[in-house]
Every structure is written in structure tokens, then in C-alpha cells.
Amino acid sequence: MGYDAKNPMKDRITDIGPRDYKEFLPPVIKKNFGKWLYHEILEPGVLLHVSESGEKVFTVRVGGARLMSVTHIREICDIADKHCDGYVRWTTRNNIEFMVDSEAKLKPLMEDLEKRKFAGGSLKFPRGGTGAGLTNIVHTQGWLHCHTAAIDASGVVKAVMDELYEDFGKMRLPAHVRISLACCLNMCGAVHCSDIAILGVHRKPPMVDHDNLANMCEIPLAVASCPTGAIKTTTVDGKKSVEVNNDKCMYCGNCFTMCPAMPLADAEGSGVAILVGGKLSNRITAPMFSKVVVPFLPNEPPRWPQTVEAVKKILNAYAKDAKKYERLGDWAARISWERFFEKTDLPFTEHLIDDYRFAYTTWRTSTQFKF
């Protein structure tokens, strides 16, 4: 029994979809499905949900590197088996949630989680990520798996989270703060709508591998891929290829996505941009895009100190100055962007002024400004 390469269609099963979530719901969840009355955050990372039926579910939320080994997952399973009748879930931001159906089971679970550490010394299951605080950084693949990455993902996230660790476990910020990271402009995630976004960017136009381009790419697709029309066909040493008008290039990497013979990544050219002020919820204000406030910081492995520093500056200025319930973007809009740059001590440069399709809608067409 098993896959038979000589007879691949034999007993083939397809289109069965994912497993039914109903099989995986803990009994207390299943029983009270749709009957929840209210919730409370008992302490950072600990949620209580109370049902119409009077039943309760206690949830312990812990952070983690999204990248996890099967060894680690097995450890999670061990914990879930021990405390939670074999159920566990992940959140939409890559945290892990252990649920128990009585307060009595809560403390042993928490104690168990707390003491577990990796060999290197880091915590395996830091508790937190709830309420008006910082939760896990949503991120992407980086140098660990993706071919278009301008920066690493897991490495930068680890560096930033180590520094902001306190805020993961406290709920002392003016509102939810969501940090996200994407390693290139494809932005796999909601980086474009995050309170703070760390984004991998290139600054050099693609190199063209003339020798191989015609074999590796469909030239018309490569030409068509460029949003600024910077790519033209050409012939080099008798070989069909393309040429890039560097002055029109904005290093978006879309040509590389379509054509592997046009790599952009560069030790000096690629690095980090920081965006702020996006949000997703409709609470009070409507969802908003993040805005670029640091156009570039170099790639500085292993701990990206300038990136970490910039994120901290922003978070600290916000934490100090914003009002309760005020998201980062709402704070900046209220105090004015001129004050934002003052209070965060970030330099404002011409790179931050939009010059893409809707640029004009971001220009200040009034005399309302602060000296």
C-alpha cells in the first residue's frame, strides 16, 4: 500500500478538501458554539470566554516562531494532550492557543508552558499577545525559502521581537499594535495595512543575464510585466534579450517574478523600508494603508540593529503620546505627520513623498500645517 509511481492513478484521491474543523473542536467549544456571551482577558495571554450556558473556556495564548519543527509541534501536542484533552489551535497571527474548560486546569497549564525553553535559552512559549499590546509579527519566508526576498524574514522578526519582548507580555499600549514583515514588494501578508510594517526592498535595477534570458524567459511577458514600461527588447551578442531603462525602474521586482534572468537582489542595494499607520479593523476609523516613513535601512544580519532601533523609536513615541484606543495611524493623523517625524526622530526625505498613481491625493492642498 502506498503511492505507486508506475501506476500513479491507482486509488488516487483528489478534491477531498481540508479536514472538517468540527472534528477538531474541543468539546466545550462544540457545545457552546455560537452561544458565547462575553470574554475577559484575565491576564496577558489568558482569555476567558463565557457562554450563555454558563460554561467557560479558558485560553492561554503563547507566541512562537511561525517556522516550527515537527519536534516542536510534538512538544505542543504533548502539552495539549496533558492539559487540553488533545486539542490545540493556532491564531491568525501564528500564536498558539491552549484551551481548558475549567479554571482549575489553567494554572498547571501556564506553569508548564512557562518553564519550557530552547537549548539556546530562548522561551518556547512566551505568554501574551492579547489586548492593547503587541502580538506576534506576521511574516513571510525570507532567505529561508523564497527566491525574491530582499531581506530575511525569521531573522529580522526574532531580532525585533527580542527587543520588544516586554510588550508582548504586557497590555500597556494605547491600542492593539500589529507589526508585520514581508521580504519583498509582493508583500505576502497584510503589511500594507499594519501599524508597523517591515518591508524588504531593492534599490538596484535588475541585472540582465543576456546569455540566458531567451532560454529562461518569455520575452514579451518580461516586457509587459514592467509597470513603468522600463523594459525593451534588444539583442546582445546575437541573442535576443531585454534592456532596462534604469532611470524608469523602481526596483519593484515584477520583471524578476516573470523572468528569472533578471535578478535584483544585492548586498548593498537591498534592505529594509519601514511603513506605519495601517490598520485592518473598522473600529472607530476605517481600515487604512500603512505609509512609508523610513525609505531604506541596510541589511544588517544577524540582528538588524538599525531596523530594530527604528521600530522601537516609533513604538515608544506612540506609546508615550497616543490616547487610549488610538491606533498608530490615527495618532499620527491627529498630531499631524510633521509632528510624527519630530516625535519619532526620523528624518523626512523626498523618498517619502508619493509619486505613483494616486500621488496627488496625498499632497497637502491647504494652509493647515504646524510650524
Partner: protein, 435 residues
Amino acid sequence: MVKRKTPMLDELEKGKWPSFVSDIKQEAESRNETDVDLQTPKEVCDDLLDLLELSFKDREGHWKHGGIAGVFGYGGGVIGRYCDRPEEFPAVKDFHTLRVNQPSSYFYRTEFLRKICELWERRGSGLTNMHGSTGDIILLGTTTPQIEEIFWELTHNLKQDLGGSGSNLRTPNCCIGKSRCEFACYDTQEACRNLTMEFQDELHRPSFGYKFKMKFDGCPNGCVASIARSDMSVIGTWKDDIRIDQEAVQAYVAGEFKPDGGGFAGRDWGPFDIVKEVIDLCPTHCMAWNGKKLGINNRECNRCMHCINTMPRALRIGKETGASILFGAKAPILEGAQLSTLTIPFMRMEEPFNEIKELVGKIWDWWSEEGRSRERLGELMQRKGFAKFLDVCGVKADPRMIKEPRSNPYIFWKEADIPGGWERDIKDFRKRHQK
């Protein structure tokens, strides 16, 4: 183990936040010691670390562009990946990813997880992403021959299918919804599963011009970020009144209940002030507090959730629930990022979800017909105009769909709407007007 020398990565073992480096190392060690009959290179984790160390040194990634890999009959679910220094790092020479369609809102029984672990240790790198940004369980790194084997075991032994990649429907995703959230206006998990099952063919066999994503948020809080990351965002809402428990309101005012379920407890914000914290922050200013009773002019409420979030024990969503449906969100490539645009203010969301399925059908037909290659729905909507999109959906224009009416006067008309039509005789005109 012998080979590995990763001084830079080792730095990332320090600090409190869980270290992915430590975790990969523990997996590397486990692979070195295991009795399991590994079908992939034992050294895969070692080589991966070494390769990553090299990337840290070079400040450039070391994966080749794409690469073909997949399972027979499917066009998606596998991302091919090859190392660009295969001689030095043979164990990660091919390092393909499998996207496994997660069950709605990531609930698991350990039994299932352990089976995944067993399979992935044996036939893969032993490394995963829990989860990918779209929602899938990401099995991170295996060799080409293993792919069909894994698929066979997944479907036969785990009763579990792959998710999407390529120009197809991508793995749908949802918030936790009614499973554990009192704000859920419809059953996000069932909607997500039901539509996933309905559209298995579109999910597995790329037939679109580009990717299409759908996500299900139970309420306007948007915990699965559908409004920013899905071509179709289904977001719970209600039509009737917010339910008020006046006694519980008093309890908040008296300080007995903590605002926002205690979510601000980490700092001393002073005693709860219902006027400052709720009434004044209500974006529509439709709330009133006279010291005793909380009033909501529900007709003017835009259901932003703020008051309910702040006093969850006193306020509840209405009873006549359903969802708003928005379309077109996407990341910035090419035309700039988009958030989804409100298209259906309200739709009931009940099994068998026929209304939304029909709507999706109409939109896919139009997108297939009119969309250019690699044009997301949102971009097509921009190119053709929102009014055209409404036509396609069979929906009447409504001010709810816009932030404000157009400020430019460049209005297109249909010829049929203009008395006399468009064709005119210049000779006639010249009778009235000399040149």
C-alpha cells in the same frame, strides 16, 4: 552537525523570543539521532542552516527562481524551490514546499498533528510554517520524488487535501468566529469550509488569469484581515439594533467590569470614563449617556464595533445578522495595494450559501472574460470602473459603496439614455449654426 558553522545565526539563539534557529538545530539533532526511515536527506536542516548563514553573510538569498514541482492533476499546492549552490548544500538542492489546506480556523486534534509530524519527518525536512500567510499548513522543504508520496499519504491516511497556489482559487481562510467569539455575525468556519468544498476544482486546477482569494471575518473587527488580503472579503454585520444590558453598562461605569474585557490592564489609564471612552469616540456620534441610561440611535450606527468591543458584557451585536461583501483587495504589485470595496452591504449567510456562490460565479465569469493575464480582480474593477462591476454583480448603485461621489464631471452615459441618441447630422447642425 560536524559541518555546520553558523556564528551569525547563533546570535539569534539569544534573547527571549522563541528562536527559530534553536528549533531548526533541535530538529537537525533529532534527525541525526532518529530511527525513522528518512526518505529525505538526514542533513537537510544542517544544510539549510549553513545556507541561511551564507545568505546572512552575502546579504543575498540563495534560492533559484521558482522551479517546476507538483502533483499529478493539480496545478497548485506545491512551490518548487532549488538551491543556487547545490554542490555545497546538497541536502537542500531541491527544497519544495507543500501547502496543506488548513481546517477552518486552525483547530486541531493532536492525533492529526502527530500524523502530519510523522509524515513530514519521514518524507520532508521536518520543518513547517504554522501557518502560511494565506492560511495553509506549510510543509517546508522536500525533494522532488517525495511529492507524490506525500500527497498519497496525506489523502489516504490523513484524509487531508492540498491548498492552492498559482492562478487559481487560493486556500480560503476565516477567523475563529462562532467557535469562541461572541461577536461572530455568521458562521465563518462553515462558510469557509462550505465554499472551499464547493470550489475544489477551482482551488486545485488553475483556470484563472491570476490568483483569487476569499476570507471570512465574523465581524468588522476583521481578525483574519480579509479586507486587506482577499479578492472577496466576507465580513459579518447586522441590520437591527445593538442589544444593551443597562445594568451591565452601570457595572462598567462603576468600575466593576473592566473596559475591553481587560485588554488595557497593563497600564493605569485612570477610571473608566464612558463619555470620553465610548460616547465621544463613536464615529457616528449616535450614542448618548445621561448618567443612567445608554442610548444608541441604531439607525445612525455604522457598526464599527467600538462600543461593543469596549463593553462586551453590556452590549451585543444585533440579532438580524449576515455579512457585508467586499471585493478587490490585494498587495501592491502592480497598480498599488487595494483594500476591498463594499459591494453588497448585506447578505444573509446561511447554508447552503447559494446566494454568495452565485455571486462568485458571475464575478469569475466576468473576470475570466475581461481580465488580462495576471490582473487581479481589484485591478480589473479599477480598469473597467466600479459601476461596470456592479452591473456584473447585478446590484444597483448605492451611496454606501463609495466614500464620496465623484468630484470630476467626466460622466459616461449610455447612448440609449440620451434623447435622440448620439448620431447627429452635421448638416442639420450647420443649418442652425454657420461655421
